[in-house]
Structure formats: structure tokens, C-alpha cells
């Protein structure tokens, strides 16, 4: 159970990053990978709590964190890997890009600094890949049933792997050229190198998952066809519709959705061809609208492309600044100011800013007009209300605006409309225990819940697979 009093003896070892001026020259991962050996002491800081909040409340996939932390401390690396593999199909993804709610809910986050759970996870899985412990796990018995999974993001991948391992014939459909969804086309390489996805796909493939890429379900093949051909269909195509900014000048050249920008960048880096017009921030003044993670990714990418200046505006107020290692609202996710590695690479951030309009010359953006706002408490404890600060209008010269204001819902293409899937109030596919309103059609991940974390998508994929399995067993 870790080392008694280990947390008093050893300090938390925070994630280390490559030097900024070096890392801005490439798209390689910014973090310096710690080996599992370096993390032994960190494993020893874990107390293997009787009530592990990290596992029970923090981690959406329910990683058996105390168990593998203990194994790390004891040097039982393979055991650590085996315990990790039980709950999480893709620890190499979460170990890189998960915001780690496990750490904010770690018992040590009450009054100390949490265990380096995320780094431990990453080290375990990297060690496992290096040692060759990550091997295909084909099903024990083939079941004569098949499942189509639509959309190959983390939810689709996880579901496919789970279903395949249970014995189903699984075909994973992807409209893009390669499997991976947002992992591949949304998250920049400096956070997740794409080879990390590829080596996992190899495993899936060997286990027998069939990939059908470049196929847009609903357009290239019909849902009816899928339903004829497969015993069940699972929709995991994400919440692809980004929130737009309906202001004058929105249609100017130079205003893009974040994913248009990030997707192209990723394609360029992996030397994948693309048809869209080139978007390049080199020498440009870039404004990212939206203060979330996608926005931050845009900042880092723009910096690497050589932007002369990067701004990031957020409509919400600036969160509390908090520099203590513990969590003021343990075990919940704290709303505090987060400064990512990308922010540190050079970016001016500002809050409480509403975009009034965008202007340009010859259809090309060159300036944005903004005003400051104030949030006042809503009546009767309702949601806070936005109030414009009089005389706060200001302008900013910009060449590129990237809209990173989140996603609204799943794309309402024919894949959704043809089978007449019932949608929820926000436009996502409604489901009861992952079963949609149509018998035999299931959904999971962002397509079901709206945009969320990769780790939740993995969890959804796994649970949806269970749900499909139960349903198919009854058929």
C-alpha cells in the first residue's frame, strides 16, 4: 500500500517540459517523458486509500489507481500494467492529454500535493509498449454477430475493441482518411504524437477490428444498409458542430473554426494531403476566441507556425488564481486559472470580452471590435447575467481569428436523420443506457453527451459495448 508516510518523505515531481525556445521549433511532444523508474517514489506517495477518491470520484474510467501506484512503488511494473489495462483501453492517450480529475480528487489534494497519477499512467503504458507487454487480445470465442461502429474517435475505438474482444465482428467506420477522430485531427502533435495512435491501431487491427475509412455513413452508405448487414450499430461520431460567432464580419477570410485550423495543421505535419485552402499563421496576428483547451491548442499551434502575436479572449470572467498544490474545492474540479504549456509559449490572455464585430479589407480580416462585459448574479440565484461595461469598447488588429468556443452537438447528417434518432434538447442523440430511440442502434461518447473529455469517451465506449453485448445476447 504505497509507502507509509511516503507523501511526507517524497515531494511531488511535477511534469517537466522541454525548453520553450527549443520546443517551438518542432511539433514533438512538449513534455519530457519520465520513466517508470523515475516515478517509483511518486508511486510511494500514494496511500492506497480505503476510500480512493481518485478512483471512486475522480477518474471517469474508474482506473484502479491505488493498485497500480502500489505496484509501481514495489517495482512490479508488469502488474501495474495489467491492472491499468483492465479499465482503460488507451492509457497512452489519457496519460498525455487527460486533465486528470483523478489528481484534483486525490486525498493528498486536500492539504498537500496530489500523487502524479497522470504521469504514472503514462509511464506504465510506455513501459508496457517498450517491453512488448501490449499484445493483441483476440476473442476467446467468435460470436456469429457483427457490429458497426460509426466514428473512430476514442469512444468508437474503445467500443470497437471491447466488442471485438467479446467475440463480435466489428467494423469501425470513419469519414476521414485515418482512424482516430479528434485524437488525430484535433489534438496537436505536441500534445499527442500520432504514432501513439498508430501503434494502438495495430493492436486493434490484429485483434480483428475492421477499419473502413473515408466512408461517411449516411452519405456513402446508408443506415439501412448497415442495419441489414450488422446486428447492431453504434454511433460514436462525436459532437462535430462547433459553436459559431454570429457577428458582422464572421464570413471574412481569416476567420476559422479552431478545428479547421488544427485539423489542417495536423494533416500537414503527418504529410496527409488536404483540399482546403492553406491556413498559416506565420507572421500573422492571431486571435483565439474561447479560453478552453481547444483554444490553448490553437495558441500553441499558431506559435509554432510563427505567428507574430497571439491573443486569446474569453467571454467568461478570469477564474480564481491559485498557486497552491492542493485543491481548494476538493474533490471537485476547481474553477481556477489554468496556464497551459502553450500559454507559456507566448500569448496575451484576456477575459470578460465580448466580440462585437470583425472587420476587414477585401474580404480579408484585419481587425476585431470588442467590448468588456461584467457578470452580475442572476435573479433568485439564477444563472449570472452578462452586462456590458459602458465605454469599454476597443479594437484590436488581427489577421486570423480562430473560433474555439466549444461544440454544440453531433452533426445532424443523414446518419442521424435517416433512422430518425430522437435527439435531446441540446441536439445530441438521446439514449437510455446507450440504446437510442431506435431498437438496435446505440450511441456513445460526445455524440450522446456533447463534447467532453477523451477519458469520458473511452469510458462511454466501454459501457456502450457492454450495453450492446447485453442486448445482442438477448437477441
Amino acid at each position: 500500500m504505497g509507502k507509509t508516510n511516503g507523501f511526507l518523505e517524497f515531494q511531488r515531481a511535477d511534469i517537466k517540459y522541454r525548453e520553450i525556445d527549443k520546443r517551438l521549433n518542432d511539433y514533438d511532444e512538449v513534455t519530457i517523458d519520465k520513466s517508470i523508474e523515475e516515478l517509483v517514489e511518486q508511486g510511494g506517495r500514494c496511500m492506497e486509500c480505503g476510500t480512493p477518491f481518485c478512483h471512486n470520484l475522480g477518474c471517469p474510467v474508474g482506473n484502479l489507481i491505488p493498485e497500480w501506484n502500489d505496484s509501481i512503488w514495489r517495482g512490479q511494473w508488469k502488474e501495474a500494467f495489467e491492472r491499468l489495462e483492465i479499465t482503460n483501453n488507451f492509457p497512452e492517450f489519457t496519460g498525455r492529454i487527460c486533465p486528470a480529475p483523478c489528481e484534483t480528487s486525490c486525498t493528498l489534494s486536500i492539504n498537500d500535493s496530489p500523487v502524479t497519477i497522470k504521469q504514472n499512467e503514462r509511464a506504465i503504458i510506455e513501459k508496457a509498449f517498450n517491453e512488448g507487454w501490449v499484445i493483441p487480445r483476440p476473442p476467446r470465442e467468435e460470436l456469429n454477430k457483427s457490429v458497426a461502429v460509426i466514428g473512430s474517435g476514442p469512444a468508437g475505438m474503445a467500443a470497437s475493441q471491447q466488442l471485438r474482444r467479446q467475440g463480435y465482428k466489428v467494423t469501425l467506420f470513419e469519414k476521414d482518411r485515418k482512424i482516430g477522430g479528434l485524437l488525430r485531427y484535433g489534438i496537436p502533435d505536441f500534445k499527442l504524437e500520432k504514432s501513439v495512435i498508430d501503434r494502438r491501431l495495430e493492436q486493434l487491427q490484429t485483434e480483428g477490428v475492421l477499419f473502413e475509412t473515408g466512408v461517411t455513413v449516411g452519405e456513402d452508405i446508408s443506415i439501412r444498409y448497415l442495419r441489414d448487414k450488422f446486428d447492431a450499430v453504434l454511433f460514436t461520431m462525436g459532437a462535430g458542430v462547433p459553436r459559431d460567432l454570429p457577428v458582422p464580419g464572421r464570413d471574412l477570410n481569416g476567420v476559422y473554426f479552431a478545428l479547421e485550423f488544427l485539423g489542417q495543421s495536423n494533416r500537414r505535419i503527418s504529410k496527409e494531403m488536404y483540399e482546403e485552402a492553406e491556413i498559416n499563421a506565420k507572421g500573422k496576428r492571431v486571435l483565439v476566441i474561447g479560453g478552453g483547451d481547444t483554444g490553448s491548442d490553437c495558441v500553441g499551434t499558431a506559435r509554432r507556425q510563427g505567428a507574430s502575436k497571439v491573443y486569446q479572449y474569453e467571454i467568461m470572467p478570469k477564474p480564481m488564481e491559485w498557486d497552491k498544490p492542493w485543491n481548494p474545492v476538493w474533490p471537485e474540479w476547481p474553477q481556477i486559472l489554468r496556464t497551459t504549456s502553450s500559454h507559456k509559449e507566448g500569448c496575451e490572455r484576456d477575459w470578460n470580452i465580448e466580440t462585437v464585430s470583425l472587420e476587414g479589407k477585401n474580404g480579408r480580416l484585419n481587425r476585431g471590435n470588442f467590448r468588456r462585459i461584467q457578470w452580475v448574479p442572476g435573479e433568485k440565484g439564477g444563472r449570472p447575467v452578462m452586462k456590458v461595461v459602458k465605454g469599454s469598447e476597443f479594437s484590436q488588429d488581427v489577421d486570423i481569428v480562430l473560433l474555439a468556443m466549444g461544440f454544440v452537438h453531433v452533426e445532424h447528417g443523414r446518419a442521424v436523420t435517416d433512422p430518425d434518432l430522437e435527439l435531446d434538447g441540446r441536439g445530441n442523440i438521446m439514449a437510455d443506457n446507450y440504446h437510442t430511440s431506435v431498437e438496435g442502434l446505440f450511441t456513445a461518447g460526445d455524440a450522446n453527451t456533447g463534447a467532453s473529455l477523451v477519458v469520458r469517451a473511452i469510458n462511454h465506449g466501454r459501457q456502450a459495448a457492454e450495453s450492446v453485448h447485453h442486448w445482442l445476447k438477448r437477441q
Partner: protein, 1508 residues
Amino acid sequence: MIKERGLYNPDFEHDACGVGFIVRINGEQTHDIIEKGVEILCNLEHRGAVGGDQKTGDGAGMLFQIPHKFFNKVTDFKLPKEGSYGTGMLFLPIDGKLRKQASDLTEKICRDEGWDFLGWRDVPVDVECLGDLARRVMPYIRQFFVSKKGLKGSELERSLFVLRKCLENGGTAKGFELEEYYLASLSSRTIVYKGMFVAPQFLTFYPDLLDADVVSSMALVHQRYSTNTFPSWPLAQPFRYIAHNGEINTLRRNLNTMHARETSLSSELFADDLKKLFPIAESKGSDSAVFDNVFELLTQSGRSMEHATMMMIPEAFGNKYHMSEDKRAFYEYHAAIMEPWDGPAAIAFTDGTRIGATLDRNGLRPGRYTVTKNGLVIMASETGVIEVDSKNILEKGRLAPGKIFVVDTAIKRIVRDNEVKSHICRQSPYRRWLSEEKIELAGLLQAPRDAEYNPETLRLKMRAFGYSYEDIRKIIVPMATNGQEPIGSMGNDSPLAVLSEKPVLLYDYFRQHFAQVTNPPIDPYREHLVMSLMSFIGKERNLLNETPAHCRQLKLAHPVLTNDDIKYLREVEHEGFKVDTVNLAFSSEGNTGIMEKFLKEVCLSVEKCIDEGASLVILSDRGVDKEHLAIPALLAVSGVHHHLIRAGKRHLTGLLLESGEVREVQHFATLVGYGCSGINPYLVFESLAEIRDRGYLPEDLTLQHAMEHYITAVKKGLLKVMSKMGISTIRSYRGAQIFEAVGLSDSLVDEYFTGTASLIGGITISALEEDVRKRHFQAWAPDDVYSVRFPSGGSYSSRIHSDRHLFSAEAIVAMHKAVRNADFKKFQEYSGIINDKSRGLNTLRGLFKFKKGQPVALDEVEPVEDIVKRFTTGAMSYGSISREVHETVALAMNALGGRSNSGEGGEDEARYTPDTDGSDRKSHTKQIASGRFGVNAAYLANCDELQIKMAQGAKPGEGGQLPGHKVNQEIADVRFTTPGVMLISPPPHHDIYSIEDLSQLIFDLKNANPDARVSVKLVSEAGVGTIAAGVAKGKADMVLISGGDGGTGASPLSSIKYAGTWWELGLAETQQVLVMNKLRSRIRIQTDGQLKTGRDVAIAALLGAEEYGFGSATLVSLGCVMMRACHTNACPVGVATQNPELRKRFPGKPEHLMNFMRFIARELRGIMAELGFRSLDEMIGRVDMLEVDDAVNHYKAMGLDFSKILMPPQRVDGEPLRCTSHQDHDFTLSLDPELVKACKEAIDKGKRVTLERTIRNSNRTVGATLSYNVTKKYGSKGLPDDTITVNFKGSAGQSFGAFITRGITFKLTGESNDYFGKGLSGGRLILLPPLDSTFSGFRNIITGNVNLFGASGGEAFINGMAGERFCVRNSGATAVVEGVGDHGCEYMTGGTAVILGPTGVNFAAGMSGGLAYVYDENQLFDTRCNLEMVDIEPVVEDEDMQVLKTFIERHVEYTNSLVGIRILDSWEESLPRFVKVIPIEYRKALEMIRDRETQNTETTAITEEVFV
């Protein structure tokens, strides 16, 4: 006797008592022996008890020789010659018609059996003196007289024995209950007069006894203290041969075995009559009655009484004991013939010519004797029961553990232990028989060599047997690494087995029973010399004779067999010794239901093996694979065991088990408890091999060592489980069924676990089979690529895919927010999470719901402020939790007007006075636990409640220890010990071995603080209600029924999980039994154990509790996050730690706890309003307002039957459902009130006072109240020495000088009973024999057992020898004595003992501090000393020599000790014979302190590191 009703079951009744006899050695019969017998009885009255009517005694009686002359005088027919007829003492129905039937039946049977029926005599009785309850059930008492031509002597006795059995069986056949047709005695030699009285009523009731013609040379008397008030007339003692003060813990085992043995009995002496004796043991009698039955059989069939005694209650004969080879061989030989009747016992026995007594191996009952110069021997539980002129005393002694003492009136002398035993041990060549016949297999139980495993299937099999990751990491690996069971902390809040959604192993349905109050648990570590795992297994033969073949059995040193052992056994070739295997694996094809059929086949197969001569049968589930499932091992073992008992063949074979299912200590314990003799947990060994191969064991640990460690851990664990119940040997533990089942259906229990208590019904065998199938399927699941990976488990720490724990992560967070922000809505969210049934059922109360009441307005309901006054916090010691928490809890509870509980571990005296701002940091409940740490006069005087902790939910029946490195300066100060010295709490209170002892301690505490109420903490188990009744009769003001799932700071995991039951069961039983016994009105009930919400409290109230305790919840409200690592001292929130760094992190405030308590009350009020109760008083015991929630749909819970719990109790004479009055404490025999008056000047002004007083054994606890009055005024520093001096003369009762504080000196000229100087707190005690006595002090016992128990200061000088356990748990007193019994200075942590004479065995066991100087005249002391924790060295240091000499000089000064004078006279010569006993740790600690002093630093070190 009241019939079984609700949760009351007469089987649970316990009794204990005072026992005694008087005999004239030369056999002369006089009436004055009868008179003296009555006198003994009267002077033992305080050892008995009275019932709900305050008048009905639990039973008293006398056995004496048949007064021929008297009978001849009072019968209207002529009796034959003396000794040639039998006299029967018969209890008949009061109802005339029934009586006539019974009388006619008697005459008829006598005649049918060929007797001359000489006639009847109606025994005159005076019913007026009786209590109501006794009168209601009083029998009509008649004597009858029979003779048979030519019969006399032992032939006549034997024949009368047969006749009595025929009469009893005839009565039963006619449908008479035991109460309606009972023969107290039928003999030509002795007669028994007995009944439900207290001693003084005895003589009045039976006027016969006043007649001068009633003469005898001996009288054996008994005063009973039963835990119930409905003891019956027949159960009063003595029985026909014995009077028993004790408790047979292994009764179920003994009964079952006796039953099976009947088929093999044969005796030339009885020939065909033998069948008439069946059943040998009347199971409806008490344990003592059954003992008497078997004792009678053994003696009537040719063995002597002494022989029978040695068979049934063998003394310990382990290697630590010096004894002749013949004697050891005798015991070993008989180990193959009969299992010990295990338990505390003082047994007096007689056949009318010889009379004697013996003690159990532990010496757990007192026995003192006096031999007078005029030829009388008086033996009794206490000394001083008959006044003997000191000049007339020849000898004073005590019964020592395992020793026998006999007076033979035929040869007119005393026969002592050595003589008795050396004679009996040589009457047959036992030693030769044993060496020629007993089987010990070469290679068996040798170091295990290897275990092979198949990597393909190992893990699949393990999963099929339900292994979890937790099992491996938290149980097996620690066992294999450390050689002992792992430790955990906090309570058990996982679901009951029957409510779990996961398949659980059958073992989980069983809860270990444990000793509380009526018999003491044993310390398996410090007193392991009395315990034994050795057994003989194989075919047993005719009990009634002895041949060499009787010991042709396999001798097993312990029951754990390695994979090699079982292989050897299978291959063994030995004449007359055959080993067979029966397979437990059955085909997985087919439907549920086949397992039961298959089990029947297994039973028949085993029977067939036996018929074909098998001496051992191995049940094996080796055949489990993808196609084969296994019967749960426990089901198979117990099923076969009971099948064989029913078939009368159980004793013909030994049952062994080879199973992959077994792994935890609980598994081994239940298997042995249900009849298995040896167990091979093959999968554990295979998995260890795999774990080792994978590199998961420490590198320096070889597989062989890992296996040995594992076996050691199991052995230790078994000893621990046995010791919890006070059972010493596995021979009697085997088959003793010391468990209750919770959640198994009656049909399952009756068929396969016959005789096991099961209160709420539950699942059937098919549900068990379902679980087997589920596990099997999960292992070989085709759709799970990871089925070789183990599920996490989740019993100890929570996992999302396992059963939930009540204190879930969410609940903890909600609680923190609620109490910190004073947010009641959030609190409701918290209780919603706890109470939410859809999240899984965890508790029995989860299955209840409230009936609809007549709601009242909320504002009419008793206010929150009043309700919270009934709330208390759990007993959590300062030491287990940090000072900050301890004081925060006290502050909060005192502000609310509730109570905090100090726990065991003392309290800083500074907290006794409120702070200047008025805040009160004192714990108003002070706990008195077995270790007595920090208990002194001031501690007792400063509270409103004194709580005797008999058991703790997390580890009932166990002690505990605080390792030295956790004992920092502050903790040492409040516990009166030395920093750095380990503190051991013994499993039993060494002043409570029985119910009458408890009543004595209650009396002590009442005296030590007359203003405080006294409460007794019990832990729920089947039968706790009857114990609570005993507690009520012992005059406790409150009884706490604690759930077995309560928390702890450190306890073995298996104890947290498997010992004790839930408070719902214990509380309901207690309420029912107390009300039925008319005891409820005078005692309050409190309950605790995982109480968390207002709903919990409401249910507790309806079930009968008027007060409620919160332990874990208290801590959680103050910031605890249920880390369950209290035992590591690494609590991250500063709650359960002494680490100053971590203590700084403690986030709790008194307001948090106050908010919690108020919220609970607020929630409760809501429920009260809804149910229509305006006050809690109206609500208590209203079980009619509860019902079972039909909406709960749970597959296993379906079969549960709560009718017994929800049954309203039978109310006699309008007995209320709650406490409405109070205990009537009787201080009439107390000397203290008068002493306090006489010492007024001393107390008020410090003026010196000297008094002279006489004293008797019935004057108990002298000095405690006097001390209280001094302490109240002067605190623990007391008065200057000798301010008050009292010179006593006579025989002092128990607890003489208890808790006396500094300034008080008691000088007693005479003798003393047990507990002399209990809790001595600074006073001085002097004890010496009368000046005119001619016997020498140092050869005689002058004071009883357990002297100076828990003394924290002061001095005692004793001119004479003391009994067992001298200075046990002494932490500061100095004592000089001239000899002690076994276990001297046990658990001592401080102070000094000077022993100028012999010591018994096991001296200094568990002694972690203090010093002892022993005059080792024979240079044998090192063989009697337990050297595990101490060094022995010569007395050479000047300081030591000086100290020693001063003590002896003062001893001589105070007591005129001849021994002292002799030693001082030859000081140069004597000094080298002294040895100094010093604990190793203590020496280090002292050096550390000395170093620190020489460094002359100002600061007090408080970090534990200083002393590591």
C-alpha cells in the same frame, strides 16, 4: 424455563457462581457440617444474583450424605440397612393430577426395572420465603426410596444410575418437561437439596436441614448467578456429582461427539443396560448438567472420579510445563479418546466418600481452601466464608490452574495433586501404548518443499474459487511475508453477505462467536503455553474402556497440510490405518439443484468409506476445471460431519479437506469449527509459487519460507479465533460450532449446520449453487479476454465495481460540506446517499421501513436540544486519535450536553477543570478497559459515566497493543507509563472472568464514584441479550449494545470482518430479553456501530435503544476521509495520528461535530413527527412501528425472515419498554460510608486519623469511596502519606483497598480475597497473618488472584503468598510479596515487584515496563519466566541493591516478615540469589530518558522518532 421466543433462546443462558464445600477428613458425620455448609452458602451470596422481582435467586443448593437416621425417623415405613437403598429427590408438577401421573409412573418404572419401591416422602417446604418468579415455577418436591435385593455399594449406585436414566427417559416419553419431572439425585450415598433461592432462603425453605439428625461428613454447596431470571429449579446446582463454577465453551462439540459415540459404547459393567442410559447427555440441561452426565458415565463405568476429571479437564501439557513423561503420555493418550471440555471451570466433585475440586488449565475461577487443626477442610470460591480461629489454622492454600485437590474420608487424609496424578498416570502403560501405536508420518508437516502449478489454469481456478486481487495482495501476500494476519482499521461498512450483489463465499455468512462477560478470552500471544493446535485424528474406539488401539491415530501438530503432506497421506501404508478420498467436484452440466443431490452422494460415499474401514477421509475439490464445479468446501465438510453424527459414525474417522477455496483464517476457523481436522489449501500454495515466480514476494523470501510463513499466520490466526471464545485446544474447538449464521435459511442450517444459531433465515442451498456457478462462469467466460485478471475485491477498500461501502466517497464529501457550511440540505443529501437502497443494500435496517403513523406537527416534537443529549461519541482513545481530535470531540459534546467517551487511554488531568472561558474539555464518559491504562482514582472521580468495555465491535474478544514508537511523552503521561514502551491491552479484563466478577467490578466503580452511572459495553452476537440480562442483574445502569461492524484504530482484518453481528440483532434481542425478564425498567440501553443518519437512530429507538453512539461518523464530520490507515499513524488529515506534522493538518472544529449531531436530531424529529411521536421516550421499543420493506427486491434477501426481530416482547406485569426507574444499589455491607464519616477531619483538614475495624469477606471494595472523597478534594496527588490509617482484622472481601489514593494506609491482619489493591492509586496496603497464627506466612496463600491489577501508584507489603496474576498490568505501584502463582507481573508497564519466594509459570509475560526482583532460591526461575520481552540479570548495580534492600527492610518493618528477616540477616549470602527482571524495551526507554536528562534540555520531546 421460558421457551424460545423472538430472539430469546434458552441455549444462550450462562451461569457462574460461587461454589464451596466443607468436609471432616475423618469422615465423622455431624449436623454442624450441614450448618457450616449453609454458612458458606450465605457468605457466597454476593456471588449469586436475584431476578426482576428482587427476591428470586438464580439457584442455590447443597449436596450431602444421605442422613439415614433422619430418614428412618421421618418416613412412615421401615428403611433397609444404611447404604443398601437408594433415595431419590424428585421434582414433580404442582398440579395434583399431573403429579399423580408422574408419581405413578415413577413407581411403575421402578417396579418394571426390578426394584422394591419402599415408599414416598413429601418434603416439607416453606414457600413463603420465595420470590414471586421462583414460586410460579416451583415444583412439588418428593423423596422416594427403593432397594434391590442384594445390591449395595458401587453396584447399587450403578444400578440406581440406570434406574434414574430409565425414569428420566420414561418421564420424557410421557411428555413431561424437565421442570415437571426431574431427579435432583438418586443415590444410596448422597442427596441434593436445591432450588431457586438466594442463600438465606435455603434453610427456611427446607426445614429438614434444621433437624439435628441430618448429619453428614461433607457438604457441597453452590450459589448460582444466571444471566437470566428464568433459570429453572432443575438447573440449580449441585448436580449428582459435581458443582460447577464455570462455562463449557465447547459444549456443542462435546454433545455432538457424545451422541455419535453412543454407537460404540460397551461396558461389561452395564452389559445390556447400557442402552437404557441413552441419551447420555441431556441436551436440554445446562452445560454443567451435561458435564455431570458424562462425568457420571465415566465414573460409573469404572474410572475413578479423578481419572474422569483429568480426561475431561486436562491440564496444559505443552513443552513449557515441567511434568513427568508418564503424565504427559497420559494426557496425550487421552487426547485421542476425549476432547477437553474447554472453558473456565472450578469443579467440585464428590461420590459421598471422596470430595475434591479442580481448576481448568487457565485457573480462571478462584478456589481457596483452609485446613484446620481439628480436621476440617473448607474449600470455596472465596476465603473467609467460615470464620476459623487463627490459632486453629493448619494451612491455607489455593487451587492452582489444572491441579486437583481431594479429601478422602475413607483413608482419612488429604490427597494432593501429585499423588493423585502419579497414581492415575501409571495405572496403565500409557507411555508404551502411545509410542507403539500413535502414528506420526515421516515427512508430514515438515518444511514444505514446493508447489507445482499449471500456468494455464491456475488463475482460472483461483477465479472459480472467488479469489480477488485484494485477497492476494491484502491477505495472502502479507501472510506469506510477515507470518501473520494483516492489520486494518476503521469499521466494516460493506454489505452483509446475504445482501451483497456479488457472489460471496459461504464462510462470509458466518460470524465468529466470542467470549464476553461470562467467560474470558485468552491471550494467544502472551499465554500461548496453555493453548494447543495438536490433535489426534482417526478412528475413535469405545469410550468406556482403554486399549493400546485407542491411540492408533494420526497425531497432527496443527491442522494446515501442505500439498506434499496430502500426497504423503494418500500414499501411506500403515496397518489398521486407511486413507480414502472423496471427490467434491461435479459436472457443470445440468441445472441448479444437482449440487444438493451430489452432496448427498458425497455423504453416502464417506459413510461407505468408513464402513470399509477408512480411518481418514479426504474431501477433495482438486477436480475443478472448465467442466467441473466444486461444492463449497464448508458446506461439504459440515454436511458430511452432521450426516455422520446422525449416523453415529462421526467418531470413526477423521475428516480432511483438500480445497482450492480455502485461504483466509476465517475459512480455516469455520472448517475446523464444523468438524474438519486437517486442511490443505492447495491453491494458496500454488498461487504463492506463481506470485513468487512473478517476483511479487520480497526477493530474500524463498517459496519455502513464504509457505511456512503462511502456515504460521494461519496457526496464529486459529489460536486467535479460538482464544476469542476462551477455548484453549483445537481438539475441543473442532466441531464446536462457535459461529452463528447470518443469512442462511433454516432448512440449510438445520440440515448442514445443525445446531448453529441463525436468527433471520436467508438463502437456500440453490442460491449457494448459483453463486458457485456464477464464479465458475466468470472464470471461464468466453467473452472476457481478461478473465485471468482478478477482480479488485472491495471488502476492505472501496471499488466502483464492487459492493458499495456505506461511507462512500460521495457520502464523505457531502458530510464534510454539510457540517462545515452548516448546510442541512447538503446533510440531507448525505443521508440520502447513505439511506438510498437503490445503491445497494448494506445493512439489515436497510430492509426495514416505518409503518404509517398518526403524524403530529413538527413543533410539537421534542426539540433538537433535548434529543442531542442522548447522543454520545464512540470510545476513541487519545493515542488512537490525536489530542486535537480527542479534545474537539469533548468540547463539541459537552457544549451540546451529550457525552464524549474517553476511550481506553487515560486523560490529561488538566482537562478535568473547565478552561477559564468555561469550555469543558473533559470526557464525561470514562472508559475502563482491560488494560486499565490511565485509570486511577482521579480518572474515575471525574466523570458522569464509567463504562466497562467488555468488547469492541471491531475486535471482540481480543486485546490490542500500542507499539512503543507510538507512545510519546504525552501519551505515556496520561497512561502512567514510560515513553517508548509498548502498551498491551490483554484480551480479558483480568478481574472479569465471569458474570459475578463483572458485578463485582460494577460495585467497585459505583464505590469509586458514587455519582457516576456505570455502563457496560457489549458487542452484538447471538445470546447478547442474556448477557445483558446478567449485566442488568449485576446492577449496571446502562448497557451498550455495540455492532460488530464498529470501527477501530487497528485490528486484524478478519476480526473487523468476521467477529460480532449487527446491532439490529443484538439490540432487538437485548430489548426482548430484558423486557421478558422484568429487568428493562431499571437499565438503559445504548447502541452504536455504523449509525449514520436520523433514520438509523429512529430504527434504533424503535428497536429499544434510548441512547445512540456515533464513532466513525464523528470522525468523518471532523474531516476523516476513511483512509483506513489509522494503524499506520499516517493519517493525512491529522485525525488518527500522533505525528505532529500530520496533526497540523487536522481540519475539524467543534462546530462541525455539533452540526452533525444537530442535523441527526433534526432528521430524527422529522421522522418522529411523521410517525406521531412527540418524544423519544414514547418511541423507544415501539418495534410495532417497523415492518419489512416489501419494495426491496433483492435476490438473496428474499428468504430473510425478520419476524423474530420485529416481534414485540412478552411483557410481564406491565414491564415498560424503556428505563423508568433505576438500579437499587445495596451498600449495606459496605464499610466505606462509615469510614468516610470517621475520616471527615482528615478529608476536610488533612488531620491524621487512625481507625480499627473488623472485616469479613462480604465487606467488599473497601476504601474506594473513601478514596473518592479524598480525590474529589485533592485530585490525584491525594493527602500526605498515612494521613488516614485503618487497621483491619479478619478476612477481607474482594477488591480490598481498591483505588485508594495517596494518604490512605490500610493494614489488614488476616487474609484477603481476589483483587486486593485493584487500581491502587497511591495508597499503602499492608497485609499480614494474625499475630497468633501458627502457620507460616510464606508457605500459605494469604491473598487471592489478580492482586494490584491496574495499579498506578502506591505500595503493598504482603506477608504471605499471592495467587495467580500478581501485579498484572501494574504501571506504578511497588509491591513486596513472598510468593506468587502463574503469570506474575503479566503486562506490567511500570512499578516494582519484589518477590521473596516461588513464582508460577509464565512470569513477566507481556511485561513491557517496570522491574521485578525475584528471590530465586532454587535457581529455576529462568524456566518459569517468559523471556520474550524481558532480560534476567543479577542484582549488581548499587542503586538496585539499595532499592531492593530498602524495600525488604520496610517490608519487615510493616509486616514482621520472617522471610524478610531471614534474607536481611544473611544479606551478603541472599543477594546473589536475587535476580532482576527488566523488560528489554523498558531498559532502552530508561536509557533514553537518562540521556535526555543529562543533556539537560528544557523541552519535552513529543515526537515519536525520539524513541524509535
